[in-house]
């Protein structure tokens, strides 16, 4: 007999195994070895979170109560998958091109990035998903209870509740760990998806194992089993209520598209659109296998188990009653898998919505003006918000479980949840197929549909008389009999579920369509509408920003907070390169801002990203809309005008780039001109002191010894300065003419840095140095003297020019894409954006002339790095002055 302790042990071991799977997958993804993570098989298996504990246990119960009707739950999604080309492909394409993070994001983004709509969808999703999570907790608890009943040594009482609580807490921990590890711009969770795929295999195998045992072990083969089904009084009959069947099929299909967790795996976690093609036949096959043995198990349970046994638990109680403990435990693990995978994904999906659409907008409001740029790390806020949301969502599920008493049949709760999220369907499908769909229509339809659902389905689900008094159920509120929850407008005799779904969806759709027709969508909505409906024609992004006053550096600071420094720098560099601009700061063109906004929306959602970019660009969406409204009579005109606009911006940009090039040329020619005069100045200054003091020594005969020695010292120092200057000039001219000989040798980077730190005197304690000796343990083949010369220059500059009270210099190393990067970042006030382009020019000095520098150091560094096959650049937006030295990898070999 399986003791409860054994069962708990198995659960814990299984949980630990999933941890390992998720952890391994994350590691593999991090190392870029994620080929097999991105296979269509994993995608298909992850879709199987559609088959929750409700399917695993509940389908048999459903079959035992209502015969073949359970099939409707599978037919709906199967139809959607088979017809993938029609709707799913479009949703996935939109999701990918617009970087949609959730179903709320999709609807809000479509209807003009409306945050109000996002909040509404989020709230409905939370309310609609809560019963479903409760359902999973209930099924796990029930399955524990089944084992407890069979275990004489265990006492089961209050412990059922404790079980649910423990399960909820365990799931919260797992989800927080793997669902919020990193704020990925694509919102993908490799670890979680992998764990779910594994669970999908486990639950399928478990159900098949029970089925095979029932048919061949107990039933004596296929023929006999079929005969027994025929003989069964309830299952043998083929009674189909056309209304209820089509209603249920519709509901399941709608839920498949609208459930937040399904949206998460279908769209958000989708790595490749082509996976849909595989899933379109593989997923129906999976579902078919899941449903294959439902009838045999149900019939065996009805005939072999005592009357009154809970049909929802046949999958467990059948093997147990036959003493097949091992099989029962396997079956239990299958049910456990179904429940946990659903809860994990649902919690991730909901927490993304809550944090992006409720927490972040509030947080942004609370920090007006400075939100995006100055205040602390936004990533931490987002991640904390998600973690709290996950815990809250699971707690809500637990609360519903406690309140509803865990009484109602599994299938009933599941259907109520389905019909709640099905309210998204009109706005979603209308949004992607109909350009006339308007925000006000979507909002009203959703709100009213949701209210009807609450009244007719959700509140009565707690049980008669719990929330809605029995009297109201009978006669309607305030005596308004046409508002009776089960008989709207006095139409009686309908199945309560069909009744609720019919009315809520019907009224929702009518309001959505009606109000959309009679309202005029705002320009932003029309733009987004065109983008969504014609996603296959133009995969360009929606226009939102036109260049102007945006400060690229501020944008960089914000982007680094949200995307992480590395991602942000890569993005900015890529965009800059695309525009043909050197360095890290692209022109804030409309195009660039859109790319940026879309990247950011991966982290915080479309509406928030729009608001954040708006804060920095100094414009809000309103003025963009105003601008657009001028050219907004029909969508066609607008598309045409936006093309024209693109052309004219391009012209403006070309002109701007020409002007910049011209400015730079003028600047260079002025500099060239100034070059001689500069050299003259740099040479004459020390010579002045030398001449003057040597004349004093020559002419004045009354000098004391100390005075003589001092003046001789001045002459000596100035002569050295002169020599140094001439050396620098010669060095530069040699480097510029390419006549330099490199002494290539293998050296350890740490040694080069150690040498540079000592030579520049930075080890004397006036400046705090942060280094990472382990990182620096890299062997490279280079000219170590030349490289050290560059490092010395950068460190010495930091010593001279860092104006912080407690100067600090951070030297960090990174290898990336064939290059090795050494960053030198101090905590001073850095270099102004306008001057960043000039600092590598000869004789350019920033600010005051200090410590006798001639302004040649960085020019020499640039030449040296070019000779060494690398580069040196200024890294904006790091808080202080920041220089990046890039070395080529061909010569860099990692320490073994």
């Amino acid at each position: 007999m399986a003791s409860l302790n054994l069962l708990i042990g198995v659960c814990l071991a299984y949980g630990a195994f999933l941890f390992l799977v998720a952890f391994g997958a994350e590691r593999a993804a991090l190392r870029g070895r994620s080929g097999w993570l991105r296979s269509p098989a994993v995608y298909t298996l992850s879709l199987s979170i559609y088959c929750t504990a409700w399917t695993f246990y509940g389908a048999v119960g459903y079959a035992a109560r209502s015969g073949l009707e359970y099939l409707t739950i599978y037919i709906g999604p199967t139809l959607v998958m088979i017809g993938w080309f029609w709707a799913l492909r479009k949703i996935v394409r939109i999701g990918r091109s617009q970087r949609i993070t959730s179903v709320a994001d999709l609807i809000s983004s479509r209807f003009g990035k409306s945050n109000l709509l996002a909040v509404a969808v989020t709230l409905i999703a939370v309310v609609g998903t809560t019963p479903y999570i409760a359902l999973q907790l209930q099924s796990v608890t029930q399955s524990f209870a089944v084992f407890a009943a069979a275990d004489p040594s265990a006492r089961m009482g209050d412990e059922t509740r404790t079980t649910a609580l423990w399960v909820a807490m365990g799931l919260a921990a797992f989800t927080v760990l793997f669902g919020t590890r990193n704020l990925d711009a694509n919102e993908r969770h490799h670890g979680v998806v992998m764990a779910i795929a594994v669970e999908a295999v486990v639950k399928l195998c478990a159900l098949l194992a029970v089925g095979i045992y029932v048919v061949w072990g107990l039933g004596g083969g296929v023929a006999e089993t079929l005969a027994r089904i025929d003989a069964s009084p309830r299952l043998g009959q083929w009674h189909v209520s056309a209304g209820r069947w089509s209603g249920l099929i519709f509901l399941a299909a709608a839920a498949f598209l609208c459930l937040p967790r399904m949206f998460q795996v279908l769209v958000v976690e989708n790595e490749d659109e082509r996976h849909l093609r595989t899933a379109s036949w593989a997923f129906p096959t999976y579902v078919m296998l899941m449903s294959l043995f439902v009838m045999p198990i149900a019939v065996a349970g009805l005939t072999m188990l005592p009357r009154g046994a809970n049909p929802d638990m046949f999958v467990l109680t059948l093997p147990l009653s036959q003493g097949q403990t091992g099989l029962a435990v396997f079956s239990f693990i299958g049910g456990f898998s179904s429940a946990t995978s659903m809860v994990i994904v649902a919690a991730i999906a909901l927490s993304t919505m809550v944090s992006n659409h409720i927490v972040m907008p509030i947080w942004l409001k609370l920090e007006p003006g400075r939100g995006a740029v100055v205040s602390g790390d936004v990533r931490n806020v987002v991640i904390t918000a998600r973690r709290i949301s996950i815990v809250a969502v699971l707690f809500l599920g637990y609360l519903y479980y406690r309140l509803s008493g865990g009484g109602a049949a599994l299938a009933a709760i599941g259907l109520i949840s389905f019909s709640g999220v099905a309210q998204f369907l009109p706005a979603m499908i209308g949004g992607i197929f109909w350009r006339g769909a308007a925000r006000s229509g979507a909002m009203t339809g959703l709100a009213v549909g949701f209210a009807i659902w609450l009244w007719c389905l959700f509140l009565p689900s707690f049980g008669e008389g719990v929330v809605i008094p029995a009297q109201v159920m009978q006669h309607g509120p305030f005596g308004l009999s046409w508002l009776r929850p089960y008989a709207f407008f006095g139409i009686e005799g309908l199945d309560p579920l069909v009744h609720g779904v019919l009315w809520s969806i019907l009224i929702n759709t009518s309001l959505f369509v009606g109000i959309s027709i009679f309202s005029f969508p705002s320009p932003m909505e029309r733009l987004q509408g065109a983008q969504f409906v014609n996603v296959f024609q133009h995969s360009a992004s929606p226009r939102g920003w036109e260049g102007g006053t945006a400060q690229s550096e501020d944008l960089m600071v914000m982007a680094q907070r949200l995307l992480g420094a590395r991602e942000a720098q890569l993005l900015f560099q890529r965009e800059a390169a695309r525009q043909g601009v050197q360095g890290y700061l692209p022109e804030p063109t409309g195009e660039f801002l859109q790319v940026l906004e879309r990247e950011l929306s991966g982290s915080v959602g479309a509406a928030t990203a729009h608001a954040m970019v708006g804060q920095i660009v100094g414009r809000t969406a309103v003025s963009v809309e105003d601008l657009m409204a001028v050219a907004d009579e029909t969508a066609q005109i607008m598309e045409y005008s936006s093309q024209l606009e693109a052309k004219s911006t391009e012209l403006t940009r070309t002109a701007r780039q020409l002007r910049l090039a011209n400015e730079k040329l003028t600047q260079l020619s002025v500099q060239k001109d100034a070059f001689l005069s500069q050299i003259s100045h740099e040479l004459r200054t020390p010579m002045t002191s030398i001449r003057s003091f040597s004349e004093i020594l020559r002419d004045a005969d009354d000098l004391g010894e100390a005075q003589k020695a001092r003046y001789a010292q001045v002459i000596h120092d100035e002569a050295l300065r002169l020599t140094r200057l001439l050396d620098d000039l010669l060095d530069l001219s040699v480097l510029e003419n390419g006549q330099v000989n490199l002494n290539l040798a293998r050296v350890r980077l740490r040694d080069v840095l150690d040498h540079a730190v000592a030579a520049s005197g930075a080890d004397r304690g006036e400046m705090v140095l942060h280094r990472n000796p382990v990182q620096e343990d890299v062997w490279i083949e280079t000219d170590s003297d030349r490289l050290a010369q560059v490092f010395i220059n950068l460190i010495a500059n930091a010593r001279k020019y860092c104006d912080a009270d407690l100067p600090e210099l951070r030297i960090s190393l990174r290898r990336e894409g064939g290059l090795m990067m050494v960053d030198f970042i101090d905590n001073g006030s850095g270099i102004e954006t306008g001057q960043q382009g000039m600092i590598f020019e000869k004789f350019s000095r920033i600010g005051e002339q200090k410590a006798g520098g001639a302004g040649l150091g960085l020019a020499i560094c640039r030449e040296i790095m070019a000779r060494l096959g690398g580069a040196i650049s200024y890294l904006p937006g790091q808080g202080g002055a920041a220089f990046r030295v890039v070395l080529p990898q061909e010569r860099a070999i990692a320490a073994r």
Binding site: H681, R684, T685, T688, S689, S692, I696
Partner: protein
């Protein structure tokens, strides 16, 4: 009571050299080493003569001279300009603005002495 001179120059060694030469000649020497508030320094010290470097941190010597010439109390103040550039157009510019005398670096000590004494001769 010797005459007073204000040396506006940012190289400490050059300040020291000029101070030495002039104080041996009986001048009271003060110095100021940045351009930003050089005019205020002149207002404050009211020297009999100013030695002004062209390349100063914060503000160019030409700008300072322009402002001195624009003020009623300093428009006649003798100013000896020093420059390390030594090109003709620097000299022309200095004379246009109203420098009393222009000298390029490196200078000979005797030349400086001769120049300052000539400038305050009645």
């Amino acid at each position: 009571m010797g005459k007073s001179v204000l040396v506006i120059e940012d190289e400490p060694n050059i300040i020291e050299a000029i101070s030495f030469i002039l104080s041996r000649d009986g001048w009271r020497v003060a110095s100021h080493s940045n351009g930003v508030d050089a005019v205020e320094a002149v207002e404050h010290r009211k020297p009999d003569l100013v030695i002004l470097d062209v390349m100063l941190p914060g503000r160019s010597g030409y700008d300072i001279l322009r402002e001195l010439r624009a003020r009623a109390d300093t428009d006649q103040l003798p100013v000896l300009m020093l420059t390390a550039r030594g090109q003709t157009r620097d000299r022309v510019l200095a004379e246009e603005i109203g420098a009393s005398r222009f000298m390029s670096k490196p200078f000979s000590n005797a030349e400086v002495l001769e120049a300052v004494n000539a400038l305050i001769a009645p």
